[in-house]
């Protein structure tokens, strides 16, 4: 960032007042993209309507197709290394805008598509040619399948899903669940144990690409309290491997690097979801009347909202610093964990308090705070639980 290299310090010539130069993260113009996002949301009101995202069959592929066709993914994608800061700040803009559309719900599959599946695929040289390009156009999408029932959530060393050689083909058998976008994916990026080193020269977790419609792959949508209709279970019964993305012993390492990016981006989304529900609660407190006056007339209500607004500012400052570190190529795992933990804590608190301030209306499905509360519970688990984040912070 040019501001940083030209920032004046104590080496300034004596007497010369320091010119007002910002050292803050960002500083990359995103106004054009912001306008593009506003136009997209205005044109796609029906697709983004909150009630469509409360069904068990939300229009995920339609959204990804429309967003891809509108160039939203490419705007947030780096064409080369030097373009990375621009792309990251555009991704922040994307997730910030989508946190306020359709009660924030459509932003979830969008983030999974761009900043989980496509971003991970792009780091893997073995990924099939053209897959990332098609994903950026919104014509195909993948799901990252890591979590398993029966304990192997955060503890990924104890995978039961395994890859084996069956004559000339590699096949995978096992079960994954709580897999975002799984019901809508064309490809599955499956973390599986390779106990016999059939994918390479080492044993241990491998990362494999499977076609979602291949024989032996069965998917179902989970009935979850949050991320309605967006999360799936995958049963794999000798399902054929399409591509070995990372061989045995390398799969987890690839994911560890990827998760730094994912966690900071998820933290951006959680912070902006919290910001949206606090703003909504403040607006509603002007209209909701109790005992003859607007709710906002109560000092207690104003203080509660003020406290939440301070927490939003703080967490946003923290996650934007995380984006700066990503842009410079050096975000430590512990700092990504700070971002994700803080944002999860904020979203939980903000959604719960905003729901309370809305009374029974907030209890209703369709209310933004209620949706955020449900989604926030899942986000505190996805991509690394709060507890895992705390362990990583402790390790420094």
């Amino acid at each position: 960032m040019t501001e940083l290299s030209t920032a004046p310090g104590l080496s300034t010539a004596p007497g010369a007042p320091a010119p007002p130069v910002s050292r803050a993260p960002g500083g990359i113009p995103t106004e054009v993209f912001r306008k593009q996002l506003a136009e997209f949301s205005a044109a796609r009101g029906e697709l983004l309507a909150a009630d469509r995202w409360e069904s068990q069959d939300p229009p995920v592929r339609e959204l990804l197709g429309a967003a891809g066709a509108a160039g939203l993914f490419r705007a947030a994608w780096a064409v080369d290394e030097a373009d990375r800061p621009r792309a990251l700040w555009h991704a922040v803009e994307l997730h910030t805008a989508f946190a306020r559309l359709g009660n924030g719900a459509p932003g979830a599959p969008l983030l999974t598509h761009l900043d989980v599946a496509t971003r991970l695929l792009a780091t893997l040289p073995a990924a099939p040619a053209g897959l990332v390009e098609r994903a950026l156009d919104g014509r195909t999408t993948a799901a990252l399948a890591v979590t398993e029932p029966g304990g192997a959530g955060s503890d990924l060393a104890s995978l039961t899903t395994a890859v084996r050689r069956d004559k000339d083909t590699l096949t995978v058998t096992g079960e994954k669940w709580f897999i975002s976008n799984a019901p809508y994916a064309d490809h599955l990026l499956v973390l599986a144990d390779d106990p016999e080193a059939v994918t390479g020269s080492r044993t241990g977790p491998a990362l494999l690409l499977l076609e979602a419609t291949a024989p032996g792959v069965a998917r179902e949508t989970l009935d979850t309290s949050g991320h309605t209709g967006l999360t799936g279970r995958i049963r794999l019964d000798a399902a054929p491997v399409h591509t070995v993305l990372a061989p045995g012993g390398h799969g987890l390492l690839r994911l560890m690097r990827h998760w730094i990016h994912e966690r900071v981006m998820v933290a951006v989304r959680m912070t902006e979801l919290a910001s949206a529900v606090v703003d909504h609660a403040a607006e509603a407190a002007h209209h909701r009347r109790t005992f003859g006056s607007a709710l906002i007339a109560n000092q207690q209500v104003r203080f509660r909202l003020a406290d939440l607004s301070a927490q939003v500012l703080e967490t946003r400052a923290a996650v934007h610093h995380g984006i700066r570190l990503l842009a410079e190529g050096g975000c430590p795992m512990a700092y990504a964990a700070v971002c994700k933990y803080r944002a999860a804590e904020l979203l939980r608190t903000a959604a719960d308090e905003a729901l309370q301030l809305s009374g029974a209306d907030g209890y209703r499905t369709g209310h933004p705070a209620q949706r955020a509360l449900r989604d926030g519970l899942g986000l505190a688990l996805a991509g690394g639980t709060d507890e895992l984040m705390l362990l990583q912070i402790d390790r420094g």
Binding site: S11, G15, S309, E314, R324, C331, P332, G396
Partner: protein, 394 residues
Amino acid sequence: MTATLTTTARAGWFTEAEDRLREELTEHFARQVEPHIPAWESAGEIPLRDILTALGERGMLGLRFPVERGGAGHSAWSHVVLAECLGELSSDSVGMSVTVHNDMVAPMIAEAGGPEAVERHLRPALTGRHLLAHAVSEPGAGSDVAAVATTAVPVDGGYRVSGTKQWVIAGMYADAYAVLARLPEAKPPFGYVLLMVPRSAEGVTVGPADPTLGMRAAGVAGSVRLDEVFVPQSDRLGGHGLGLVTQLRQFEPERIVSACRALAIAARLLRDTRARLAERSTFGESVGSRQEIVFRLARLEADIAAARQLAYTGIDRWVAGGDHRTVSAAVKLRSSRLTRRVARECLHLYGAQGQLTEEGVNRAFRDARLFSISTGSDEMMLTALARLNGWADD
């Protein structure tokens, strides 16, 4: 805090020159100040003049003020470095007293003082030989500074000031006080004057405070009585009638700088507590390795890391000329509450030893309690935030 998180938190915000300043200050404080703190605290008094003179001789006071006013023309980031180094000291009587001098009163003279006030008060203050304190609070006016009853009656060549100020940090050490007084016709926010009043002026009587929870060596003046004190017009900071406006404007940046000190205190306490718990064993196991403790400390680490970014964002907005009012109130609120919480949790984790008043963690707990009260209480910050968000309170 862990070293990684501290380094990461500062990335991109500080220049190499500021990093060198930090090293220099750290070394100076470690050699010249920290070793004496237990004795000073035990005596209930710090040699503030010596501390400031040593800083002045090294050119470390007023770094951000214009050269023509005695400063070094650097940015406010150099004051953040000083604030964070002060937070590394185990006595906030030192940290707060230096902050009052260098970051609360001196800036008002640098920005709103006329040439004579600069010569009389600022230049000598930046050498460390003229000590400044802030006399704002009154028995009937704490956070509500507009309610001050101290009155300045305009007379030929200046003002006659009468009233009583209280809770003046470093008031027992100071040579001059910045005094906010109302004009006889005051109507908030206008009709106030901000005056530099020398302690030696006729009619000034300073008395010590009753014992306090913390800040026991901060030379807190319980009362600064002003009885028909004449103050020349040249010692007025800001325009006639604009004293409150000048004061309120100063509160915003000073709160962010103070937040940087508070968060440095919190980070230091956490680091020290970690080190202690690593050595402490119960039931055959290191206390620091227990999961409950690991998680508790990691939560505080995360909170400090996040609040630091808010503080740096606030400093940046201020330096770059942006609106920093909301960030200022937000970070004052967050850092005050957090530092208190960190101090309380660390005190507990020190076990019975933490109950000894001479223990650093005990002092930190007592000192840190003031953050949520002084320079704008938590409630004032919440009120300010609500107003700045447009949530009217009438």
